[in-house]
Amino acid sequence: MDFLIEVGRYMANNSSTFVSLTIEHIIMVVQAIAYALIAGVPLGILAAKYKKLAPVILSLVNILQLIPSIAMLAILLIYFGMGTSTVVIGLFFYSLLPIVRNTYVGIKEVDPGITEAGKGIGMTPLQLLAKVQFPLSIPFLMAGLRVAAVIAVAVATIAPYIGGGGLGREIVSGINLQNEIRLVAGAIPAAVLAIIADFLLGKVENKTKRRFAN
């Protein structure tokens, strides 16, 4: 208990540092997820629309996910050097799988009767995608987004090893200086951030589900 009080005192004394670290952390995650959406949604759609592409795309993003995070960052370090952008690229790769896979599944799961209705009333394949299939896959996409965000918040804590910032700074310093108070003071807000992301995106997901449920 005393220990936690000390952690609290430490955080209070350095509150402005913690606020900026948290903001840094969030910015890295948001950037990575935004890129993952921009790349992942089209990939998921391609996989859903073209049977032959599906196994290629899905196994590729699967492999990315399977690389251990330290190894991934080491590889990226070699190609992109130290810096925040390297961190964002790494987080981007980790977020890709849930987004691609859920977009793919979401489109595949659309009731064939609804797809047929769209086709039958004269929608072009593109209209069908834009007006029916993609909107109906959004609840799945939101679930993927949630998973991606939680993973990214966690993985982002190792950013300082490759020149990034965020709450990992305190954790890494804590490890280096063998200072448990700093380590935990960095870990707690990171965990809370993950929980908040999970909770908020879970709410959004449920909302879309309710709207589209039939």
């Binding site: 609804i114 009333i121 929608m123």
Partner: protein, 370 residues
């Protein structure tokens, strides 16, 4: 007019779903495809909007080969109600109904007006329902939306695949009535799939009965009911409906074999004796060529022995052999002579027998209903 000539469909897996189908769907007619599950109804329908392409034969719409019509344009000019309703769950009722007009880029005012008109037509208040989502409607209401979505762009041809199958009997009958009424107003070419014979008989101009990818019989409901092509058709229609369709047996079935008659050259006295012997109070009279002349009643004859028979004959109207028994039912005549077209006397209807048959019919019908 839509014409199918020797149209066949073999699916990718080699299964032949349609075997040289010949069909004509005339303009303004309500055509019903009916048959057991898997006989090829949906396949036939999907050929018409090119959701499926046929593998052999010829399919034309207004004499134009369907393969030469752009499928997107074709579908926008055809209403399509699919078996599973298929409303877009993420769109409001307004957006669902307006789907095709929007694809056709109608202006907003025109779309608004059309949507209101259609919702009113199926008794759904636009103000209440326009902004709702499909899952906020009952099954019957959803099916109505499915139907009016197909009507929104005022297509000339409407395809309906078992549109009322998911409904409770009351809603179904109501929508059938609405469809028949609607068809009288808008007069479109409708192709309607069902497996419910009552529904087909009720709404169809032409019924097409299919089995295993072939057309077994096509014709008006009356033709199928009165002239089923074979045992399969009879089976499918069901003996009860066939029986009902036949109506009452012909007049001649009710001729009373024991009822006696006289000839015009007999004396009044002889005729009276005949009536008394047979316990009849009336006697039909024929001439020497067996032509019907009229009826003499016992009441008129009493005390008139000095007159000739001809003076006593009352010209009671006779029924003809081909008249429907129905005509007799409800008349109050005490005696009902039946004659051939040329006037030859056949006999007299037995009222008790007619009543018996009527009673049985009424009984079986009310038995079905309850």
């Amino acid at each position: 007019m839509i014409q199918l000539k020797k149209v066949s469909k073999i699916y990718d897996d080699g299964f032949q779903a349609l075997k040289e189908i010949d069909l004509t769907f005339e303009e303004g007619q309500l055509n019903v495809l009916i048959g057991p599950s898997g006989c090829g109804k949906t396949t036939t329908m999907k050929l018409l909007n090119r959701l499926i392409d046929y593998t052999d034969g010829e399919l034309t719409i207004n004499d134009k080969l369907i393969s030469e019509i752009n499928p997107i344009d074709l579908r926008r000019q055809m209403g399509y109600v699919i078996q599973s309703i298929g409303l877009f769950p993420h769109m409001t009722i307004y957006d669902n109904v307006a789907a095709v007009p929007k694809l056709l880029k109608w202006d907003k005012k025109k779309i608004d007006k059309k949507v209101d008109e259609l919702l009113n037509m199926v008794d759904l208040d636009p103000q209440v329902y326009k902004k709702r989502y499909p899952n906020e409607l009952s099954g019957g209401q959803q099916q109505r939306i499915g139907v009016i979505r197909a009507l929104a762009a005022e297509p000339d041809i409407i395809l309906m695949d078992e549109p009322f199958s998911a409904l409770d009997p009351i809603s179904r009958e109501q929508l059938q009535d609405e469809l028949v009424k609607l068809q009288q107003e808008i007069n479109k070419t409708i192709v309607f799939v069902t497996h419910d014979m009552d529904e087909a008989i009720k709404i169809a101009d032409q019924i097409i009965l299919m089995r295993d990818g072939e057309v077994v019989q096509k014709g008006s409901p009356h033709e199928l009911l009165t002239n089923p092509a074979n045992a399969f058709v009879e089976d499918f229609i069901g003996s009860e409906r066939l029986e009902q369709a036949k109506g009452l047996p012909p007049m001649t079935a009710f001729i009373d074999q024991n009822y006696t008659y006289g000839t015009h050259d007999q004396s009044v006295e002889a005729v009276m004796k005949l009536m008394l012997d047979h316990k009849q109070d009336q006697l039909p009279i024929v001439d020497e060529n067996n032509l019907y002349l009229g009826v003499v009643s016992l009441y008129d004859a009493i005390g008139q022995q000095d007159k000739t028979l001809n003076d006593l004959i009352v010209k009671v109207d006779a029924y003809q052999r081909d008249d429907e028994t129905k005509q007799f039912v409800g008349s109050r005549e005490t005696i009902a002579p039946v004659i051939e077209k040329d006037g030859t006397f056949i006999g007299v209807l037995d009222q008790d027998q007619v009543l018996d048959v009527l009673y049985q019919k009424f009984d079986s019908k009310s038995g079905v209903k309850s």
